[in-house]
């Protein structure tokens, strides 16, 4: 009898667990790509937010990010999807977020002489970097034929999309499609900051929307006296030894700044000894090939749309010859106080602006001296004046490419 009782109890528990699992799964019908994280040391008006408040504000931010994603993602049915499906001359009424991103992108397109363009969805699809290829981005493959690239380039002109006087978006070429992937997450970080300021007034703390971080205000309880610190992710961590191989360089003394990094270790494939990046050059219709492997951009929060600009500028430098990219960032520094760190495939790095950028050993010496001998400096500081447009990959870079090639078949 006892055995039977326990048997039934077990069956009941199992059924309950299965039902619970099914109920949870049913809730997750809508998939959202964008992830958000906020520091547990987040302050508003000098007061630290408690865990309940952090949970509450995170939920509110999450809802807002989902609604932005609904509007601006190529994979949802919002404004961007409607623009992409529209015929030539058809007027498309867009949501607020898409409208903002469109205006910002037009401004950046003009400022960068076309090096930043969101009208590259067709090319992204051609090269196998659009979302439907998510399960096989790294699969080795031949380049598309040049005539297909040329044909795709013709329908990838941002000039073929404009805003009508009545405010709607109109395409001249029905086949042109846009994708705000190079700016949307930075824009989202601006929206999050606006929401936090609306809710609390001035805030102090850090949060991130994917690889776009905002370091708001001055760091509170700064016992080390270093201000905010940030890791510049190591795009070659897989061939880096020692502790903290994930960090290439370290920033200290940061405050009120948006930080964004673009690198070639995300959405890429290796073919015939070469890395094909997901960042496409609007001028050539081909993956960026200027020897740059990572760019981090720091935009002061005093600059309007700091997050969106950091995101967009971090991809722009991939689509210019190296010296031109560095000159472009120097101009941004002079005009807006925007800083940049550019890493190249000869394992050199260039810094623009007066931000403190430390090598791993220097940062260890400052924060945890016992780790100094256990971390590895990977990249070499190089003066901008020594930069050349032709970047020759170093021995370690070739080793990295061989590793990727072997792994991805």
């Amino acid at each position: 009898m006892i055995v039977k009782f326990f048997g039934r109890a077990l069956c009941f528990l199992l059924s309950a667990a299965i039902l619970c699992f099914c109920a949870c799964s049913a809730d997750e019908t809508e998939y959202y790509f964008v992830e958000f994280s906020i520091s547990s040391n987040f302050y508003a008006g000098g007061q630290k937010l408690d865990n309940n408040e952090i949970r509450s504000v995170s939920a509110e931010v999450g809802k807002m990010l989902n609604s932005i994603e609904d509007d601006v993602s190529t994979e949802k049915s919002g404004s961007v999807a409607r623009i992409n499906a529209a015929d030539a001359g058809e007027k498309i009424q867009t949501g607020e977020y898409t409208s903002d991103l469109f205006s910002l992108s037009k401004e950046l397109y003009r400022q960068t002489n076309g090096a930043f363009s969101p009208a590259l969805y067709n090319l992204s699809e051609l090269w196998g970097f659009s979302p439907e290829y998510a399960d096989r981005y790294t699969q080795p493959r031949q380049e598309p034929p040049q005539n297909e690239i040329d044909a795709c380039l013709e329908k990838s002109q941002f000039d073929d999309i404009y805003r009508a006087e009545s405010g709607e978006i109109v395409k001249k070429n029905a086949e042109t499609r846009i994708d705000f992937g190079g700016i949307a997450k930075g824009y989202m970080s601006d929206c999050v900051l606006a929401l936090l300021r609306q809710r609390y007034g001035e805030v102090q703390g850090t949060f991130s929307v994917m690889s776009n971080s905002v370091l708001a205000g001055e760091k509170q309880n700064d016992s080390a006296g270093l201000g905010y610190t940030a890791t510049l992710e190591n795009p070659r961590k897989e061939i880096t030894g020692g502790l903290s191989s994930g960090g290439a360089l370290y920033f200290t003394g940061l405050s009120d700044v948006a930080v964004s990094t673009s690198a070639d270790d995300y959405r890429y494939y290796v073919y015939d000894g070469k890395i094909y990046k997901h960042i496409l050059d609007p001028a050539t219709g081909r993956p960026s090939d200027n020897g740059v492997i990572s760019i981090t951009v720091l935009v002061p929060l005093s600059v309007a749309h700091a997050g969106a600009l950091a995101d967009a500028y971090s991809t722009t430098g991939f689509c210019m010859p190296l010296t031109q990219a560095l000159s472009f960032y120097e101009l941004l520094w002079k005009e807006y106080g925007i800083g940049a760190v550019v890493i190249t495939s000869d394992f050199c790095y260039y810094t623009v602006g007066e931000y403190t950028v430390l090598q791993p050993k220097e940062y260890a010496q400052l924060t945890n001296p016992s780790l100094t001998d256990k971390v590895e400096n990977v990249f070499t500081y190089t003066e901008i004046s020594a930069a050349k447009d032709e970047v020759v990959p170093c021995e370690k870079e070739r080793e990295y490419i061989e590793l990727l090639a072997a792994r991805n078949g």
């Binding site: 009898m1 048997g7 199992l14 991130s208 370091l215 309880n221 016992s223 610190t229 924060t367």
Partner: protein
């Protein structure tokens, strides 16, 4: 078959029919699976431990060398230093680092709960009476973002 006959038939049935056995077996397998996952999957290992007093970090050291440290409170200030047997510490917790793990090996707090928490290679050890938190984490250099 009327109601009484049906009840009588159910009463005469065996406790276990094949269907029951299959359900029990599935349940048992699931329990064994979860137990194995919980106890046999490798635990994350930290390489550094951090000592916090009243929420503020006051000390950190690597776990790669066995050592004895002492945390004590003096004039309202939390201090951590290498353990010295001859000093008469008050309001103290003795912190032992051994084989990459951290444990509180002695304390003069009233409940001694921290001592009973054992050795850890990841996570937290908390001494509520002394407002002490020992955090064991890893990956070397850390930043805000």
């Amino acid at each position: 078959m009327n109601r009484d006959e049906k009840i009588d038939q159910i009463k005469r049935q065996k406790y276990f029919v094949w269907g029951d056995v299959a359900v029990f077996a599935a349940a048992l397998l699931l329990i064994v699976f979860f137990v194995l996952v919980a106890f046999l999957t490798p635990k994350e290992k930290g390489d550094t431990f951090y000592v916090f007093y009243r929420g503020e970090q006051i000390f950190s050291a690597l776990l790669d060398t066995d050592a004895e440290y002492i945390f004590y409170i003096e004039n309202g200030e939390g201090i951590v230093e290498k353990y010295n047997d001859s000093n008469g510490y008050k309001s103290y917790n003795r912190i032992s680092v051994e084989g990459g793990t951290v444990r509180v090996s002695g304390a003069d707090c009233p409940d001694h709960t921290c001592e009973h928490l054992g050795a850890h290679s990841w996570g937290e050890i908390i001494c509520v009476p002394h407002d002490l938190r020992i955090e064991i984490r890893g990956k070397g250099l850390e930043t805000d973002v």
